[in-house]
């Protein structure tokens, strides 16, 4: 119930491609879904987040698509660049409860080839 399942574990795309990372959850009480980006040697940093009252959110080349009925959300990176190579984590939380502890997926290592 508290898990967030993330796939794929790793992903290789060519520059300009559109990598897609998928996450699924079971707990319908989750109401906040952030994505974190982690570069080697750094801690994860908040990239973009969505709440379930919208189906899509864009920030620059990054888009979250959210499907409430399927309990799935995904990250799309448009026109991907080698500088996007990083590990991406999806997460979910219940903002109104338990101090909103984030439940993280296991991460996706993205490599964008020049």
């Amino acid at each position: 119930q508290q898990q967030v399942k993330q796939s794929p574990q790793s992903l290789i795309v060519q520059k300009g491609g559109i990598p897609i990372i998928n996450c699924a959850y079971e707990n319908t009480a989750f109401d906040y879904f952030p994505w974190y980006q982690q570069f080697p040697g750094k801690g994860p940093a908040l990239l973009i987040a969505i709440r379930p009252d919208v189906s899509e959110k864009k920030e620059g080349r990054f888009t979250i698509s959210f499907n409430k009925s399927a309990k799935q959300f995904s990250l799309h990176i448009m026109d991907s660049q080698p500088g996007d190579s990083a590990t991406y984590f999806c997460a979910a939380s219940i903002e109104g409860g338990s101090q909103g502890n984030l439940i993280f997926g296991k991460g996706t290592k993205l490599s964008v080839k020049p």
Binding site: G41, K42, G43, P44, G96, N101, L102, K106, G107
Partner: protein
Amino acid sequence: DVKVTQSSRYLVKRTGEKVFLECVQDMDHENMFWYRQDPGLGLRLIYFSYDVKMKEKGDIPEGYSVSREKKERFSLILESASTNQTSMYLCASSPNLGRVGSYGYTFGSGTRLTVV
């Protein structure tokens, strides 16, 4: 620039040693967290704290303890280090839910601990 600072980037300790990992945040956040990160296992929560002198067990607390004597500082303690505690340790902080503004965790850069 707001920060979560972890005192060491790299540490090498011997089996059986008592190890202290320190984390300080300058954002006046109420909540602080310790995670360990291992390949293929993602981020696993060890302990967290909602307030000074408060602590709660996460998913993998065995072999660890924590201390939070001041709001800005959260320490992770390995009572008797073992080789299976070799890992990347990440500290994070977040505001209480009722605070106006963006919600999210701010992570430190991590401490890579090797136990030999």
